[in-house]
């Protein structure tokens, strides 16, 4: 188990290093001189040279990468000249709303996915099965940004039940925060539930077909305890993996959902930074997104290993 954990952490570090090189290379490929972008139209050659030195742009590209990584590891992502704020402050402020949106989405997604996946598996090839799987396919086929607009129209504008935009931190006003996060979480949660419900169904069907379940059934164990005590425990293992694998998609969906509901999260920050050509912000935000995904996948894999004795033993 220890060897597995160490190997998995090692792989994570390698992936992060490669991803950081990709992010760095991408940002260096952006057309236009960053000095010109920061300083605008007119500036003296001395000022240019000084800023170039300050930003490390006078060094070789490899040196620049290592300086950037060393700074990132110290939590320094550069300075946003447009916002007059360190990028790390911008990133942290934007990270929290995205984090809460993702947590809300996961809760809504699982609350829909697990019951519908279980019902579909138990009542295979009935109206219940077709209904829940039809809902699942619709859930992940509806683009989140469109679904968000439709939900705003129905629940925000027409019925007036929920606020249509904005974000409040949970510690500032818990009920208001929950209220404002409901529609965005529902938007993204129904997408997420579609993916998880299908996996729950197929994985539960597979377990229900195994010999130990048939044996339990033969011994007279009733349907409910059979499913909840014996089958579900085993069936949920692949579900956990899928949640990890889909986390990147979820984060991408969060970018669009934030735009629809004007939530000041990572997605809005990144898109605004691209349009304003603030590449230090883009670089930091993209890297943070990757770290988020890779770390969640690491946690999921370690949880998986913990749940699955086969991996634990080897």
């Amino acid at each position: 188990m220890t060897a597995f954990v160490l190997r998995r952490i090692g792989q994570t570090i390698v992936v992060l290093a490669i991803a950081s090189i990709i992010v760095f290379a991408l940002m260096r490929m952006i057309p236009g001189d960053p000095i010109q972008i920061i300083m605008g139209g007119e500036y003296s050659p001395e000022a240019e040279a000084q800023l170039r030195r300050q930003l490390g742009l006078d060094r070789s590209i490899i040196e620049q990468y290592f300086i950037w990584i060393a700074n990132v590891l110290r939590g320094e992502f550069g300075y946003s000249y447009l916002n007059h704020t360190p990028v790390s402050v911008l990133l942290w402020d934007a990270f929290l709303p995205t984090l809460f949106l993702v947590i809300g989405t996961t809760i809504v997604g699982l609350l829909i996915a697990l019951p519908s996946g279980i019902i579909a598996a138990i009542k295979k090839d009935t109206v219940w099965d077709y209904g829940s799987m039809g809902f699942a396919i619709l859930g992940y086929s509806m683009p989140s940004f469109w679904k968000g607009i439709i939900l705003i129209w129905i629940f925000g504008v027409y019925l007036g039940w929920f606020p249509t935009m904005g974000y409040v931190h949970p510690w500032d006003n818990p009920s208001e925060s929950l209220w404002r996060l409901t529609l965005p979480s529902l938007t993204l949660g129904t997408f997420f539930s579609g993916l998880v419900a299908r996996i729950t169904r197929s994985s539960l069907l597979e377990v229900l077909d195994q010999d130990f379940i048939k044996a339990a059934r033969a011994r007279g164990v009733r349907q409910a305890p059979l499913v909840y005590k014996h089958a579900l425990q085993n069936a949920l293992i692949p579900v956990v993996t899928v949640i990890g694998l889909q986390f990147g998609t979820l984060l991408g969906g969060a970018v669009l959902t934030e735009t629809v509901f004007t939530i000041p999260g990572m997605g809005r920050l990144t898109v605004a930074a691209i349009l304003n050509r603030e590449y230090q912000v883009v670089q930091g935000a993209v890297l943070l997104g990757v770290v988020f995904v890779v770390v969640v996948n690491l946690i999921v894999d370690l949880t998986y290993a913990f749940l699955n004795p086969k991996i634990r033993v080897h």
Binding site: I18, A19, G252, V271
Partner: protein, 281 residues
């Protein structure tokens, strides 16, 4: 493959009602894109300020947008961009990803490690966020959207191909070909590739819908093909500003996008169950 084998696969495919429905939707969208000039009742760029944001009527079946342009015509032309981006991006990703997967799986060693670690690095990026970053590098426009969506889709093709090549590589007929003195390139092209093709096709079919959704997302954010190009994503974004007065502007392109994606997902699932039954869920 013999003709009888194709007939058997076709019969298996036809038994799956969802897949047949998906194929129908896909063919309808293809026809819509191909014959847009004939099918669209109006010029999709023609503005009519006397009739802005009108709801559905007998003249404009799906209403008009904030420039008085016919929504139905713009949705029909929008199918072109969606399909072109979806299909070309996936074909490009497939060509690069499969080549990398073949090299990686067949040769193994350092090359395998290098390629697969780069793929792991790419895989770590949330697809839309990487696509957004690529659009920042390359600039907006249809061609760049295709390239960006292709790059973010390479890693899954490389992984799927490599996994299957590893299994095929050990088969006795590959060993026999090697002993017969056939070159590695010829073995890969003639013996390895045909045997790993089914899961690649399945992956391709499933990826087209993801590519279309990614393109729509980029367009929604204003990073895709620029106005006045009729694109579903930017039409939805435009309608967002008029959701109270004219909800139809967002609703109809969204429905078109959803039907396309549902159809392609069902078609992809059907192809998977037909060509690769071991993956059947």
């Amino acid at each position: 493959m013999k003709a009888s084998e194709y007939a058997r696969l076709w019969r298996r495919f036809c038994r799956n009602k969802g897949a047949v429905f998906g194929l129908g939707v896909f063919l309808a969208i293809v026809c819509m894109a191909l014959f847009a000039d004939v099918l669209a009742p109006y010029n999709p760029f023609e503005q009519n300020y006397a009739r802005i944001m009108e709801g559905p009527s007998t003249e404009h079946w799906l209403g008009t947008d904030s420039f008085g342009r016919d929504m139905l015509s713009r949705i029909i032309y929008g199918a072109r961009i969606a399909l072109v981006v979806g299909i070309l991006a996936v074909m490009l990703a497939m060509a690069i990803g499969v080549t990398l997967g073949l090299i990686s799986g067949y040769y193994g060693g350092l090359l395998d490690t290098l390629i697969m670690r780069i793929m792991d690095g790419l895989f770590a990026f949330p697809i839309l966020i990487l696509a957004i970053a690529l659009m920042a590098v390359m600039g907006f426009g249809v061609r760049n959207v295709i390239i960006a969506v292709a790059i973010v889709s390479i890693a899954p093709f490389a992984r799927v191909t490599r996994g299957d090549v590893l299994a095929v590589r050990e088969e006795p007929y590959i060993e026999a070909a090697r002993l017969a003195g056939i070159s590695n390139a010829a073995i890969i092209a003639r013996h390895v590739l045909p045997n790993v093709l089914a899961p690649i096709i399945v992956q391709g079919a499933l990826r087209v819908s993801a590519a279309i959704i990614t393109e729509a997302g980029l367009s929604f954010l204003g990073l895709g093909p620029q106005p006045p190009t009729p694109v579903w994503g930017s039409m939805i974004a435009e309608g967002r500003n008029f959701i109270v007065m004219a909800p139809h502007i967002s609703t109809f392109p969204g429905i078109a996008l959803m039907i396309t994606v549902v159809g392609l997902n069902l078609l992809g699932d059907g192809l998977r169950d037909t060509l690769d039954p071991k993956l059947k869920r």
